[in-house]
Amino acid sequence: MLKVKFLFYMLLILLLPGCVETIVMDPKEKDLPVVVNCILDAVDESLPEYYDGQNLTLNLFYAKGKSQDEFIPIAEAKVFLQGGRQEIPFTYQGDGLWQTEKVKVQGNITYTLNVEIPGRERIWAETKTPRLDTWTLFHRSYETLPPEDDYVPEFVVEEMGRQDWDGCVLWASGWELSDTGEDDVWRRLPFVATNHPYADDFNLSDKLFAELSFQGIPKDYAGYSYQEAFGKIQEQIGNYPVHEGFVRIGRLDYDHPFFIVPGPLFPPGCLEGTTITQDALYSWSSISFCFVTKELDQYLRSVAVHDLSLESNLTYLYSTSDNIASNIHGGLGIFGSMCRSMQPFLFTPGRAEEKSGQSF
């Protein structure tokens, strides 16, 4: 935003020695709205970790005035979820956090969230979870091995039933596994490049993929492999702009292969310099695909636009502000649902080994 600074310096310093004055603007605290945040993660119940279901959580509190220090959590309320034929109650855990017993969130089910606070009108919201079998996303390299010099992996979204799309939107981000010694920590990579024609440009950065630099110093075979692969990818797609943090794909009716490549890469396990197996290397870096419902997408995009706007000095001078999109009737926040998928984005370690063997 240097351009903005520059222009305003010119105006303010050369021509317009203006001023800033404090004005009084007290918010009306008594009318502060209720905030509800709850996202359902529809999962495949056949996965072992979800045999017993999951504890759903929800945050419930009052928005705070701009001059106030703390949020006021809401402990006195009746909060429950209705889905299918069951009613799922939430119980208060403290600090505005509410939680259910272990439950199984199913796909293609409409859930209604109810919040009843004494002295206030009923707050409610609705979401229909995505069908888990609507979309199949597969790695092109599973089917056919791409040309030897092609380091850029591609994905294909295969549609199972367009009528069940329901406005779902794909959010994708890149992740790397960092081994901290005790636990695996997934680290979100700061940029993503794609050639998908329906990628939303709103979070384009001012960088090209070629401008990203490999992070850290490779110490082993895996590190060198990653470094070389990253360099080759830069040669192939260096002229693509990168999105900040994630890419949002607003339409899924595109049947052709596309790439989503995050960056910059780090040497695997570079934090601890651990030795990894070839199988682990294969899935060391992944793309997280989240199919989110329409209302959740509107909320997330609205939040992302807001966060990006904070980087602009002009936000302070030219307000285009509006409330973040919300489907909460009688309050703020979000009640949405999604399903996730993780896909590796680098080719097999054997392939990488072959390449790295030539170089190192």
Binding site: G18, V35, F71, L208, Y316
Partner: protein
């Protein structure tokens, strides 16, 4: 019934009754006998079209401005029905329209980048303007592709007999004009050039102040405009003119010693016109024009050993051909028939890369391409007639055929949209007339507005399925009275706008994310109602003009403010402007006049957060969000400003003109915007223009 309907229905009949009573109390016969010539003047005034204001160029030169430069837009900002944008800027919002709903034309050719100096001045010098009119209702047949107003600028012709030259200097612009015959009585030339010393001045300030500007080097500000026009009198019936106008604003700097960044915009207009008389009372005006507007932001940076550039380009290239046939019909008025066709290449917010020979990039490859083509053809007709010596009517119709290929879509989409304008004026008495206009207008180009300064970096995008053509329907009715040197106009309007655009991420206009503009547009509607009052006094030594507007403007967008209607950003309830000029001395050697402008405007609207709450994301790292009770929920303090100036005319062998003045004499800190200081947790009001000197000098040779 709201208070606007009430005022509309009550005020005008009341004014009519009072005026009629006043008329009956006068000795009408004496006025007829003694002031016959005065009646002619009054009649000329009375036949001025409703909705049209003629910009008084001599009065304009005496106005005080922040740049010291006489400016047509600054004059228009004092008219009824006009709300201004940020203080000191060139932005105007006419009868509830958007900034982009206005059309400025130079000899009939659209001028899309109308500002200089970051919005402080117009891109064209007043010296090249021979006539300027401002129309916001009763649109003519040949006025199309607008929904709010038309600033119609006609350029000067060079002299066919004598050569003359003007040199001028103001606070921020230096200029010169020349008028001369190239072939005596056959071919003439008029030319003008203005440049700004802003760049050197900025570097001087930088050298003095340092500090925050230390990280900036190679600062440049190139601002100029140039105009040339040749006229050829072919014979007594035909003439040709060829004109070229170019304006340019470029601002650039180097940051941190490695990154060159800049922005700018420019206009180029080439216009060939022919005027001729045909037989049987027919005349013809026809021409061909090319018009280019480009806005550009760029970053040049060394990458991998080569100089690479990322550029965000926005351009409009337009070719226009038009013809108008006019004929005076005995006892039936005048008729004008015409056609205009224009082909436009849009390229808004396209990002491209260029390289210096490195291995990375193919040359000039568009990374995000929004280019598209549009074609507008308009057939138009206009009939001016007079009935019973009391009723003047003007009726115009336009039939537009619009076609465009959306970006990346080779299939052209076609639309047919009719437009119409009506103007009626009924002379109740020689000094009093009723007037009314009705307009149904369509605009195919949308302007995605950034800061309301009138900056020309706003994106111009064509109609598409996502952005259908803007439409407006407007009615105006009022009374016009003329008593000798005094003229009154009062009237009320009702306007409804459809398919107007709301650019949700205006701050993105200053970042590469501008390429994603198409994802941030909302289309909605708006209404505006208001009452306009204008009083003018043309005295021998004292002139004044008082304008007042009471209006209410709102917007409704399905995806903004929860679909609820909200006030427009520049919905200023009361706008009062008073200008005056008093001649202190006027003799054979010199003329000295005092000028002044007082303006009072209700504060504009800002969206201010009353509360905040944390967000959630797919990755858990939520920030803090603001809660707004509604969009544009805070009314800024009223805007009040007084400018005073003095105009000296030295009637020497080389006539000289000196305008000196003080802008914002009261040094009032008028509101520009509000900001929230996270550290102090306070809201703060930002003001830009304190008391400032204004200076303009001109000498003729």
């Amino acid at each position: 019934m709201n208070h606007f309907h009430f005022l509309f229905l009550i005020l005008i009949p009341t004014f009519f009754v009072i005026s009629d009573i006043a008329a009956r109390s006068q000795d009408v016969g004496e006025i007829r006998d003694t002031l016959r010539s005065a009646r002619i003047v009054a009649d000329r005034r009375a036949t001025r079209d409703a909705g049209t204001r003629i910009v008084a160029l001599p009065e304009l030169r005496g106005m005080v401005s922040a740049t010291g430069e006489a400016d047509v837009v600054k004059y228009i900002q004092t008219m009824p029905g006009v709300s201004t944008g940020a203080e000191g800027s060139s932005a105007i919002y006419v009868r509830g329209g958007n900034l982009g709903s206005n059309l400025t034309t130079l000899d009939g050719v659209a001028l899309y980048g109308g500002s200089h100096l970051l919005g402080l001045a117009s891109a064209y010098p007043t010296d090249i303007v021979s006539e300027a009119s401002f129309r916001m209702g009763g649109f003519r047949g040949d006025e199309s592709n607008l929904t709010a107003s038309h600033i119609d600028l006609r350029t000067v012709d060079g002299s066919f007999t004598n050569a003359s030259c003007n040199v001028s200097a103001s606070t921020l612009l230096l200029g010169a004009t020349v008028s001369m015959p190239l072939v005596r009585d056959k071919v003439s030339l008029a030319a003008s050039l203005r440049v700004s010393p802003l760049g050197p001045a900025f570097r001087a300030v930088q050298a003095i102040t340092g500090g925050v500007l230390d990280s900036l080097s190679r600062t440049q500000a190139i601002v100029y405009d140039a105009f040339a026009k040749a006229n050829w009198r072919i014979n007594s019936d035909n003439s040709l003119s060829l004109s070229i106008f170019q304006s340019l604003d470029r601002y650039s700097y180097r940051y941190g010693g490695y990154s060159d960044e800049g922005m700018g915009w420019d206009n180029l207009i080439v216009n060939a016109r022919h005027e001729g008389r045909l037989g049987n009372n027919w005349s013809v005006e026809d021409g061909f024009a090319y018009n280019r507007f480009t806005g550009r932001q760029g970053i040049v940076r060394a990458m991998h050993g080569t100089q690479n550039s990322l550029a965000i380009l926005s351009s409009v290239n337009e070719w226009t051909a038009d013809v108008v046939f006019a004929r005076a019909l005995p006892r039936k008025g005048d008729v004008r028939l015409g056609a205009r066709t224009r082909f436009t290449l849009f390229n808004p917010g396209t990002s491209s890369t260029f390289k210096g020979g490195g291995p990375l990039l193919p040359l000039d490859s568009p990374m995000t391409d929004h280019s598209s083509h549009a074609w507008i053809s308009t057939l138009h007709a206009q009939w001016d007639m007079q009935l019973w010596n009391r009723l003047d009517l003007m009726a115009s119709i336009r039939l537009n055929v619009y076609g465009a290929d959306e970006s990346g879509n080779p299939a052209w989409q076609w639309r047919i949209n009719p437009e119409a304008g009506l103007l009626a004026r009924f002379a109740i008495s020689p000094w009093l007339s009723m007037e009314a206009t009705a307009d149904w207008t369509v605009q195919y180009y949308h302007t995605l507005e950034g800061i309301p300064l009138g900056w020309s970096v706003d994106l111009l995008v064509p109609t598409s399925p996502a952005c259908p053509p803007e439409q407006a329907r407007q009615f105006y009715a009022g009374l016009f009275a003329s008593f000798g040197q005094h003229r009154f106009t009062v009237g009320a309007y009702d306007k409804r706008m459809g398919h107007i655009v709301y650019f949700a991420d205006a701050s993105k206009l200053f970042s590469p994310a501008i390429a994603g503009w198409s994802n941030n547009i909302e289309v909605g509607s708006g209404t505006s109602r208001g009452i306009e009052f204008l009083y003018e006094l043309d005295g021998e030594r004292f002139d004044c003009r008082v304008a007042y507007t009471l209006s209410k403007t709102d917007r409704t967008f399905e995806q903004v403010n929860g679909g609820r209607t909200f006030p427009a950003k520049f919905d200023r309830r009361h706008i009062f402007n008073a200008t005056a000029s008093f001649v202190l001395k006027d003799d054979e050697r010199r003329s000295i006049a005092l000028t002044g402008l007082f303006t009072f405007q209700s504060g504009h609207r800002e969206t201010v957060a009353a509360a905040e709450y944390p967000s959630v994301t797919l990755w858990g790292e939520g920030g803090m969000l603001d809660y707004f009770s509604s969009v544009n929920n805070y009314k800024m303090p009223d805007y009040i400003r007084l400018d005073l100036g003095c105009r000296f005319l030295f009637k020497t062998r080389r006539p000289q003109e000196l305008n000196v003045g003080v802008y914002n004499v009261m040094n009032r800190h008028n509101p520009f915007s509000v900001i929230y200081d996270n550290r102090s947790r306070e809201w703060k009001q930002v003001s830009l223009l304190p008391i400032m000197p204004s200076f303009n000098y001109r000498i003729a040779f």
